[in-house]
């Protein structure tokens, strides 16, 4: 396989992209003449048009979840001319269990993944970024290689093992791997972040008699809130949206997560009640949307407090 040298991929990675300083605007002095102003307006018109086209389907789905079934297929408007609130109640109770159960299941899986990733990926990252040990370079390269590995190549044996130890239809196959730092992306992200923190911090902590654990917990982690927040946000969204693994491991309705339940609902209705299908789709998108809103602010704050190279 290809060797990935960490210097070969530019130091500018997704982390820094999201936490990069917002300074250095390359703005020209505000448009003085008419030509500049016209160009500016055209640009904004174009940007707004692109944004509108992108958001239209989402907003339309939201509006349609409040429209009477009969007009969903004939009314492209974003504002229901006639309101129908029944879709949410209907969708909520349409499957063998109320939708709240599927949302709770999703929340449990997400919570497990969050704790696992935050703890074990940051631990591994600390070792890679700060500690000297034999084979560190080779192991780091191996870690990076796993980024490229399609999950399919471990899927079948993992399934065999998990089903043999009775873990199918539990959340364990979805949570336990997260406690074993299997999301290499986040290790890489935090290694990059730790490396941007001055080493003098560690040395000062050492002089004060702090061991490695205290340096990690009390010096590095508190300074790494932006990286931890980025990890938390992405873990939340990716796990909440994850479908493949949840589809494979959760086959009994009582343990199914929101995406799997939603998928089953498509079959159950066979396209007969788009209103309630849309309503439940909106319900599953709301948590992601909220995390996005909170996360945005958090990331911007992280940008101000960290000076990444």
């Amino acid at each position: 396989m290809t060797r990935i040298d960490e210097t070969e991929i530019s130091p500018l990675n997704a982390t820094q992209a999201l936490t990069a300083p917002r300074s250095r605007w390359r703005s020209k002095p505000a448009g003085r003449n008419t030509a500049d102003r016209v160009r500016g307006l055209t640009k904004h018109a174009l940007l707004i048009a692109v944004g509108a086209v992108m958001l239209y389907p989402l907003l339309w789905m939201l509006a349609s979840s409040f429209k009477p079934e009969s007009v969903i297929f004939s009314d492209p408007s974003l504002w229901p001319s006639e309101w129908d609130f029944s879709h949410y109640a209907k969708g909520w109770n349409a499957l063998a269990h109320p939708f709240s159960l599927f949302l709770t299941n999703s929340a449990i899986v997400v919570a497990g993944a969050l704790i696992g990733n935050l703890l074990t990926c940051s631990m591994a990252a600390y070792a890679f970024a700060r500690l000297r040990f034999r084979g560190s370079k080779i192991l780091f390269a191996a870690m990076l290689l796993t980024l490229m590995l399609p999950i399919h190549v471990v899927l079948v044996p993992q399934y065999v093992v998990f089903s043999n130890i009775g873990w199918v239809n539990t959340f364990l196959p979805l949570i336990v791997p997260k406690f074993l730092a299997t999301d290499a992306f986040f290790i890489f992200l935090m290694v990059q972040f730790f490396r941007s923190l001055p080493r003098e911090l560690d040395e000062a902590a050492k002089l004060d008699g702090a061991g490695y654990w205290r340096t990690y917990f009390q010096v590095l982690l508190p300074l790494s809130v932006p990286a931890l927040a980025t990890t938390a946000i992405f873990t939340f969204i990716w796990t909440w949206n994850d479908f493949f693994a949840q589809l494979i491991y959760l086959t009994k309705p009582a343990v199914q997560t929101a995406p799997v339940a939603l998928r089953n609902y498509v079959d159950a209705t066979s396209g007969a009640s788009w209103g309630s299908l849309f309503a439940m789709s909106i319900v599953t998108l709301i948590p992601v949307f909220i995390v996005f809103l909170i996360g945005q602010r958090y990331l911007v704050k992280g940008i101000a407090t960290t000076g990444l190279k």
């Binding site: 389907p57 600390y126 796993t146 490229m148 399934y159």
Partner: protein, 304 residues
Amino acid sequence: MTTQVTTRRSFALRHEERAAWTFLLPWFIGMALITIGPMIASLYFSFTDYNLLSAPEWVGGANYERMLTDARLHKSLVVTFTYVLIGVPLLLVTALALAIVLNRGIRGLPLYRSVYYLPSLLGASVAVGILWRQVFGKEGLVNQFLALFGVEGPGWISNPDTALMTLIVLHVWTFGSSMVIFLAGLRQIPEELYEAASIDGAGRWRQFRSITVPLLTPIIFFNLILGIINSFQTFTQAFVVSGGTGGPADSTLFYSLYLYQQAFGRLNMGYASAMAWLLVVIIAVFTAVNFYFSKRWVFYSDQD
């Protein structure tokens, strides 16, 4: 004296090494049990006939031979390659173009950025798959708009000629995350370069070609590699839009989806494992070729 220092040093090093292993312990266990162990097992399974119920039976290279004549596998490769080769460049060009427009100190940048970024967070969800099914359905949103102009659109998703295209559109719809990475990259280009070029009389286009693009190539490359690796594994949207079949007429039979059908629909675990290894080889070859050609177009500044 010297010996004492060395022993103390090596003691400290040993101590540090032990600490490193403690911190790496979860990762190491994961690497062994969740990644490398299963990889070896899957390589073994790929040479067997295995249906979960009875023990794997060694069949040599039969699974790999079968791939040569499996028409659905070939179809799934065509679908996936089409998707990757059209979808990834289209997404990157869109992301780069909008990043450049947004970078010019535009008012309302945070709002634009949020609006463009949001779909990339939602794009992988089942809910958006359901939405897409409706938007491009026979009586869907797209056709409702076309009807306003008196055009009667086809059922985009039920037509084998257009079904894959709707999924490529969905992929391009999620350009926001790449755009954010490009934006950050653009910010890192020193202002002085543009000032100097401007003094030398370089116009905007020339500055774009000679400063922006070369300095951005590492990030384009980074996005390209990750985009290709991820797109080869596309599953959810094909599964939701086609109802798990890959239809109509296998036109959305993504490689991942076919692998899933083989493994969990027909319990052909041996064949699915062989397919997984073919995917590893394909991704490795693509990445290697990209790295090879990157020497010709990716520019790394020396000062880094």
